[in-house]
Amino acid sequence: MAGRMPDPGFFVGYLNSVPRPLAIFLVVGAAVLVGSMAGLAFALGTNVNDPGDGTFARKLGKQEMSGILVENPYPILRVRPDAKNPEARTVMLTVPGKRSVKRRGRKLFDQLVDVKGFMFQRGDIDMLQVQGKNSLKAVEVAEGETPPEFTPAPAESLGRWRLIGEICDSKCHLGAMRPGDGLAHKACANLCISSGAPPIFVTAEEGAVEGETFLLMANEDGGPLPDHFGDYVAVLVQLEGEVERLDDLLVFKVDIDATKVF
C-alpha cells in the first residue's frame, strides 16, 4: 500500500513519512504527554499521608526477654523485670507473616517463657515478632536450681471510656507497612486480624487515654473480638468500654453493641 500522500495534512500510519506540520504537532503532543505524566507523578508522589514512625527495628538486633505468656485477648508477654529493664512491661506478640503466636505457644500459655525476636516500634508502643528456631520456649531450669518466680501485676481499671478512632492491625500499624491504616489497607488489616494479629485501637485524638494513643482491643469479657467486627476496621468509629492497664499497655474491652460508625 505504498504511495504518495495526496495532501500534506493527511496521516497514514503505515507510510513512514508524516506531513511536517503534523509532525511538529505530534512532537509537541508527545512532549506534553511525557511532561504531564512526569509532573503528575511528582505531584502525586509527593502528596502522601504521613505514615507515621512505625518501623521493623531489625537494626536493634534480636531481642531476648522472658515473662508470662498470656493467651487472651491476644497473645501478649507480661515481661519479667530484670537488671537491664527494671520496669514491668507488657509486649504484644506476633510471628512472621499474617499468623498468630497461638499455634506456637499453645502449650505454653500462663507459663514463664523465654522469647526471642525482633521489635516493631511506633511511638512508645512496641511488639515482638517471635522469630527463629527455639525462639519461644518454657524457661529452662538447670538441675538443682530454683525455678524463677514471677507474678505480673493485676490489671488496673481506668474506668469506662467512649473513644473515637480507628481499628488497625497492630503489626502493620507498628511498622510492617507504611501506611498501615486507612481504607486502602482495610482488607489487609482484616486479614491480619482474622489470622491472629492483635487489633489495636488508635485514638483520633493523640494521647486520648492517660496519654496513650494505642490500645490493645478485647471484647467485654477480655476475649478476642468477634469475626464480624471486621466491618468496623479501618473506618472512623466510636467505641465504648472499660480500659485496663497491664503495665505499660492499655487494653480496651469494648462493648460490641455500642459501636458507632461515622
Binding site: 495526496p6 500510519g13 513512514n16 504537532f25 505530534l26 507523578a41 508522589g45 507497612m177 486507612g182 473506618v235
Partner: protein, 351 residues
C-alpha cells in the same frame, strides 16, 4: 491492512508511538518511586512495595484517561487522528501496568496468611452493605478482567474472527472498565488521602473524558440532523454540489435513518461508498484518495471508489451507492448496493 496475521505489523510510526507511550509510563513510575519520595513531608517513608503499587495504579488510571480522550479529540481536531492509529498498543501497555499494580497489591496485602492469597482478595473484606469500607478491590478486579479481555482480543485476528460489530461492542466495554476504576479509586485511595490532590486529578480526568465525549457527540448529532433532502425524482436525494467536493477528498452525506454515505471526487469522477470502514468503523468520508483508492483516516484501510473493494490481495468490502448529476447537483440513490458492487463513476465536467 494485512492479509496475514503477524503478531504486530511494525512500522516506523508504530515504533515511535510505542516509544513515546513507554517513555511517558517509565518517566511517571521512576519519578513516583525514585524522585518524589525525597520530597515527601513524612516521618518515615512509605513502604517501597506500597509506593510501587501506588505508582503503577495511578499510572494506569491516567493512561486510560488519555486513551479515552483520543477518540473525541480526533473527532474535534483531525490533528489528533495519528494518536488513534496505534491506540491499541497504548491500551495493551496500560493493561500491563494495571496488571503490575494488581500483582503488587496481591503480594503486599494478601500474601503470607494461612488463606490462599487469591481467595483472600475476595474473602478478607466482605462489607458490601456499607459505603465506607466497601470492598473497592472488587471494582478493580472487574476492571482488570475487562482490560485483560480487551488486550487479549486487540489483535486484528480477533477483529476478523469476531466481526467488526461484535469486536467493537466488546471493546466499548473499556468505558465500563474506566467507570469501575473510578469507583475503585473513589472508594479506596481517595478515602484514605488527606490531601485533595488525587480527588482533584480524578475529578478532572472524569470531567475531561465525559466532557469531550459529550461535545464530540453533540457535533456528530448536529451533522446527522442535516440529512440529505429528497430530489424531485424518488428515491434520489440531494447529496451536495459538485463544487463542494474537493478533488481527492470526500463529503459525508447523512441519510434518514442514521446512515452516512461518503461521496468522493477523484479527478473528473464522483463515486459514493458507505461511510463506515470495514476495519473498525472509521469515517471513510473524512479520508482521502490515495493511489486511486479511498483511504480511511484511522488506519489507512483502502477501497476502490467504484466498487468499494480493497485492492488485491486485500479482501475488505464496503457498500456502494448510485450517483447522478442534476446540473451541478449531486443526486444519490439512498439504497445501498451489496458491498463490493461496481457502480460506474459519474463524470464531472468543469462548470
Amino acid at each position: 491492512m494485512s492479509v496475514r496475521y503477524a503478531p504486530v505489523g511494525w512500522n516506523r510510526n508504530k515504533i515511535i508511538y510505542d516509544v513515546v507511550v513507554l517513555a511517558a509510563a517509565v518517566a511517571y513510575i521512576l519519578l513516583f518511586i525514585k524522585i518524589a519520595p525525597s520530597f515527601q513531608d513524612v516521618t518515615k517513608p512509605t513502604s517501597g512495595a506500597i509506593l510501587r503499587a501506588q505508582a503503577f495504579g495511578t499510572c494506569a488510571f491516567l493512561m486510560l484517561t488519555f486513551i479515552l480522550c483520543i477518540g473525541p479529540l480526533a473527532r474535534l481536531d483531525q490533528r489528533f487522528l495519528p494518536l488513534l492509529y496505534n491506540r491499541r498498543h497504548f491500551g495493551v501497555i496500560t493493561c500491563a501496568i494495571a496488571f503490575t499494580h494488581a500483582t503488587h497489591v496481591v503480594s503486599i496485602y494478601y500474601s503470607f496468611s494461612p488463606l490462599n492469597k487469591y481467595v483472600a482478595v475476595l474473602a478478607s473484606n466482605t462489607s458490601y452493605d456499607r459505603f465506607l469500607g466497601f470492598p473497592f478491590e472488587t471494582f478493580g478486579i472487574f476492571a482488570l478482567f475487562l482490560l485483560l479481555v480487551l488486550a487479549a482480543t486487540s489483535h486484528d485476528f480477533w477483529l476478523r474472527f469476531l466481526t467488526p460489530p461484535i469486536w467493537k461492542a466488546i471493546h466499548l466495554s473499556v468505558y465500563v472498565a474506566y467507570a469501575a476504576i473510578v469507583c475503585h479509586v473513589a472508594l479506596g485511595s481517595l478515602q484514605a488521602k488527606q490531601s485533595p490532590l488525587l480527588a482533584v486529578i480524578v475529578g478532572l480526568s472524569v470531567v475531561a473524558v465525559t466532557g469531550l465525549h459529550l461535545v464530540a457527540g453533540r457535533i456528530e448529532r448536529q451533522k446527522d440532523r442535516d440529512t440529505a433532502e429528497s430530489a424531485d425524482e424518488a428515491p434520489w436525494v440531494v447529496a451536495g454540489h459538485v463544487d463542494s467536493v474537493p478533488d481527492g477528498r470526500g463529503i459525508v452525506v447523512p441519510l434518514e435513518g442514521g446512515e452516512r454515505v461518503a461521496v468522493f471526487r477523484y479527478g473528473d469522477k464522483l463515486s459514493a461508498l458507505a461511510n463506515v470502514c470495514a476495519h473498525q468503523n472509521g469515517p471513510l468520508g473524512e479520508g482521502r484518495i490515495m493511489d486511486g483508492c479511498v483511504t480511511c483516516p484511522w488506519h489507512g484501510f483502502q477501497y476502490r471508489p467504484e466498487d468499494g473493494c480493497s485492492p488485491p490481495p486485500f479482501t475488505e468490502k464496503v457498500a456502494t451507492y448510485r450517483l447522478k448529476l442534476d446540473g451541478r447537483r449531486i443526486l444519490l440513490d439512498p439504497r445501498a448496493n451489496e458491498p463490493g458492487t461496481y457502480v460506474e463513476p459519474v463524470r464531472v465536467t468543469e462548470a
